[in-house]
């Protein structure tokens, strides 16, 4: 924090007079015109890569911050993101176990679709994120949950990957199907497939 921001009231007031206005304040009428019924956003979290997970978490948390009713339907590779970070092997049979062994589940262990280099890529991405004060997907996920974003796991994909409800992170909704997801989308202003 710079001294300017910490300065007592008088100093700040003096600064404010010198400050250059960047835009005219939004008119009161515009504020009143904002819809009283919340808008809805649906995200289909299909992919499991780091960059796409990041996009999902940024948009979900921001959407909730903008007072939009935000739902995320979590399916296919996206489900791997929502397995608890400390879970190493998931699944009931050898094929499911092998899949989780080949690609570690959890929001903190997402690979990049390009330049993954056995984890070197994501490691560098997190280094850069820290340097530029960018929140990690895990932090954004926690913020999204705190702001009331609903995450619905897909029942069919849970079964196919042999994932149990307790393998997933806390605070998710009950598993649902495609019809539920389509119904959510039909009622939403915007739907994204990530």
């Amino acid at each position: 924090m710079s001294p300017a921001a910490k300065a007592p009231a008088k100093a700040t007031a003096a600064k404010a007079t010198a400050a250059r206005p960047v835009a005219r304040a939004t008119a009161k009428t515009a504020a009143k015109a904002a819809a009283d019924t919340p808008k809805k956003l649906v995200i289909i979290a299909y992919s499991g890569e780091l960059e796409k997970t990041w996009a999902t978490m940024i948009l979900a948390s921001t959407s909730a911050a903008m007072a939009q009713e935000t739902s995320v339907f979590v399916t296919f590779w996206g489900l791997q993101t929502f397995v608890k970070d400390k879970k190493r092997i998931t699944g009931e049979n050898w094929m499911q176990k092998m899949m989780s062994f080949m690609q570690r589940p959890g929001v903190s262990h997402r690979p990049l679709s390009k330049m993954n280099f056995m984890g070197m890529g994501p490691w560098m991405m997190f280094k850069l994120a820290k340097r530029y004060n960018v929140s990690k997907p895990k932090e954004l996920l926690e913020m999204a949950q705190a702001l009331g974003v609903k995450f619905y796991p897909c029942q069919m994909t849970l079964d196919m990957f042999g994932l149990k409800r307790e393998d997933l992170i806390e605070g998710m909704e009950e598993p649902v199907g495609a019809a539920f997801a389509l119904q959510l989308m039909s009622e939403a202003e915007a739907s994204l497939f990530i």
Binding site: T26, A35, M66
Partner: protein
């Protein structure tokens, strides 16, 4: 806008998108209608973001200034 009228100050200095907006949304949960919220940010993208946020949420952006690379927004809760 006097400093004494401000109910909550959100210091989002150094934080990147979407943190200034998310932190503000978290902060306004504890505020009530008519309260003034001050946000300090250094992210240049926050200028358009706060205009959009005000429009989307119906809260009024009453003041928006920049000085020494710091952006200051004052919002009145609807």
């Amino acid at each position: 806008m006097g400093k004494s009228d401000i109910k909550i100050t959100v210091d989002a200095s150094g934080l990147s998108c979407p943190l200034p907006i998310v932190r503000t949304a978290q902060a306004v949960k504890t505020a009530s209608s008519g309260d003034l919220i001050e946000v300090i940010a250094t992210d240049p993208g926050s200028v358009k973001d706060f205009q959009a946020w005000a429009k989307a949420t119906g809260n009024e952006l009453v003041e928006q200034t920049v000085a020494d690379g710091k952006y200051r927004f004052v919002l009145r809760l609807k």
